[in-house]
């Protein structure tokens, strides 16, 4: 609409805001996070990297000294066997943290998502921005972890950088559905505690990080197979040790991509439902 004539001198000039492409708007959401992160990254690195480093030292070096390299460690030192798996497990834990309380806060406590809803950026694009931000955070945490693992002599070769990509995908296969869930939480996030206790924690212990799932009783094994963590761990180890075969690789990859994909679609939908009322 044009404001008709020059006689209405009080009419304000045209606004300077404009909507942008999907790519540009997701980028602007990332930029918003970056403004905060560039000053606060140290604290987040400590919590998301120190923990896996401690795991690696305690389990890999401490307990690992009792473990003879053998068939189940694929011939490697236990520390080396553990390194790619701890990468995956630590990213999944970071993903769980980033996709729960911070998302609920955006809707409920800090309510910054409500502020974004009043801009040209649509709720679905905001959701995509949030997920992309989590993926970048995982990538960065993973890189710092690998640096520490390398210093500890836990890495065999640079192929572990490909494992890192598998680990980020695994993190997102978990984060995307959880973000979708978090966008529906109305209360104070009591469900998150259950999620950490009854999903994340058992996954860490039983999805093949510290020993092959085949060591578990046969009836329990299928439970491990449905976790994204097991698929990610198989991928990451297989890539790092060069033992990955095409068909299992394809299955693991498909499963993780499906989880991440369905989670992303649901997250976009739930953000829309929550913000456009």
């Amino acid at each position: 609409m044009t404001t008709n004539d020059a006689a209405t001198t009080r009419t304000a000039p045209a606004a300077t805001g404009r909507s942008g492409s999907l790519f540009a708007e997701v980028g602007r959401v990332l930029e918003g996070h970056w403004v905060w992160y560039r000053l606060n990254w140290r604290a987040t690195v400590i919590s998301s990297v120190l923990m896996p480093a401690l795991y690696l030292i305690a389990m890999g070096i401490g307990m690992g000294s009792l473990v003879e390299p053998g068939e189940f460690t694929q011939g490697h030192d236990y520390l080396v066997y553990l390194a790619p798996a701890v990468l995956v497990v630590s990213l999944v834990q970071t993903a769980a943290g980033e996709s729960t309380y911070p998302v609920l806060s955006g809707f409920k406590w800090q309510r910054n998502y409500l502020a974004v809803a009043a801009t040209p950026i649509s709720p679905a694009r905001l959701a995509l921005g949030e997920l992309t931000w989590i993926a970048l955070r995982l990538l960065f945490s993973g890189l710092v972890y690998l640096l520490i693992a390398a210093l500890l002599g836990a890495l065999l070769n640079p192929m572990v950088l490909v494992s890192l990509l598998a680990a980020v995908l695994t993190g997102m296969a978990f984060a995307a559905p959880v973000v979708a869930y978090s966008a529906t939480v109305q209360g104070e996030g009591a469900g998150f505690n259950a999620l950490f206790r009854f999903v994340v924690m058992p996954m860490v212990l039983f999805a093949g990080t510290f020993y092959p799932v085949s060591q578990l009783p046969e009836v329990v094994q299928p439970v491990a197979w449905i976790t994204p963590l097991w698929h990610g761990t198989e991928l990451a180890r297989g890539l790092a040790f060069g033992t990955l075969e095409a068909l299992p690789a394809l299955l693991h990859l498909s499963y993780l991509l499906a989880l991440a994909g369905v989670g992303t679609v649901l997250a976009c939908r739930h953000f829309h439902k929550r913000l456009v009322v």
């Binding site: 540009a24 502020a115 040209p120 456009v276």
Partner: protein
């Protein structure tokens, strides 16, 4: 048909939440440069109407054009040209004042250079320049509110929508805020305000609608509404609590209309002093008698039988 040149055009606008109808057929046209108000008590449907006009909430029925476009299909393009001040501040409290403005400007697609410059201007406007690099968290309520308004102006909006802009602020902070909004009005920014404060409506609005129960009860400028729905003056007679009803019959003979409140009688008349003298003559002995001019509160009382702030 849209009235030529109106920025907001609504006909039979409806908002339902499940079976509850919050807005029940609102007709409104707002012209460029106008300051327009939705006045009404809590639950009157003001905020729901405002959210539909802000393209934050889809309408359940009726016709709505904002800046000549349909919010259902052109939401992002419309929002790019609006400024929205929500009822509850939703600033990023972990960022500084300056960062809040810059980040928000980027959401509107402004260049980095543009947001830097605009942030400086807006901090000046909001009298927050000396707090530019302070975190938002410890700022006072009035400062946060000014920052929220400044943030809504980052894209030079053609329409600024303010939902209860001064609720919860102390009187001084309210006046500072009103002063800022006056300046915007002078610059030609179209203001749309919801409020349940009559003084705010009188201060800010060229024209307003009184809303009640999801409908528009009356429309006009503040002075028009007062002229149409009230008398020039009001005599307030205060009585001991519970004794008010004893005097209504006598009072009714002294004025055009009488409203009974729990602690006082309101006598609507064009000459309050004369009515006060007549009241004494008629033997009324109120605890106090006060003559004042009619306000929008009286209009509201007349239209709905209830007072605004209950």
């Amino acid at each position: 048909m849209a009235t030529a040149g109106s920025l907001i055009h609504a006909r039979g606008l409806v908002k339902r939440f499940g079976s509850f109808e919050a807005v029940r057929g609102v007709d409104v046209d707002i012209a460029p440069g106008e300051s327009f108000g939705f006045l009404g008590p809590n639950g009157a449907g003001k905020s729901s109407t405002m959210r539909m006009v802000s393209c934050l909430s889809p309408r359940s029925g009726g016709e709505l054009r904002v800046l000549g476009m349909d919010p259902d299909t052109d939401g992002p393009r419309i929002r790019a040209r609006l400024g929205v001040v929500p009822q509850q501040d939703n600033l990023d409290v972990e960022l500084t004042v300056r960062e809040n403005l810059q980040v928000y400007g980027r959401y509107f697609g402004l260049s980095r250079a543009a947001v830097r410059e605009r942030a400086g201007e807006l901090m000046e406007f909001a009298q927050l320049t000396d707090r530019a690099d302070a975190k938002v968290e410890p700022l006072s309520g009035g400062m946060k509110r000014r920052l929220t308004i400044a943030r809504a102006l980052v894209n030079d909006p053609e329409v600024l929508l303010l939902d209860e802009p001064t609720t919860g602020l102390d009187p001084q902070a309210r006046h500072v805020l009103w002063d800022r909004l006056f300046r915007l009005k002078q610059q030609g920014v179209t203001l749309i305000v919801t409020t349940h404060y009559m003084d705010e409506a009188e201060q800010l609005c060229d024209r307003l609608v009184v809303m009640d129960g999801g409908r528009i009860a009356a429309e006009g400028s503040p002075s028009e509404l007062i002229r149409r729905y009230s008398t020039r003056e009001v005599l307030e007679l205060r009585f001991p609590f519970g004794r008010v009803a004893d005097h209504t019959e006598v009072a009714a003979r002294l004025a055009e209309r009488v409203e009974v409140l729990p602690d006082r009688l309101l006598l609507y008349t064009d000459n309050g002093d004369a009515a006060l003298a007549a009241a004494h003559e008629a033997g009324l002995r109120p605890v106090s008698g006060l003559v004042r001019r009619s306000t929008l509160e009286d209009v509201f009382l007349r239209l709905t039988g209830r007072s605004l702030v209950d």
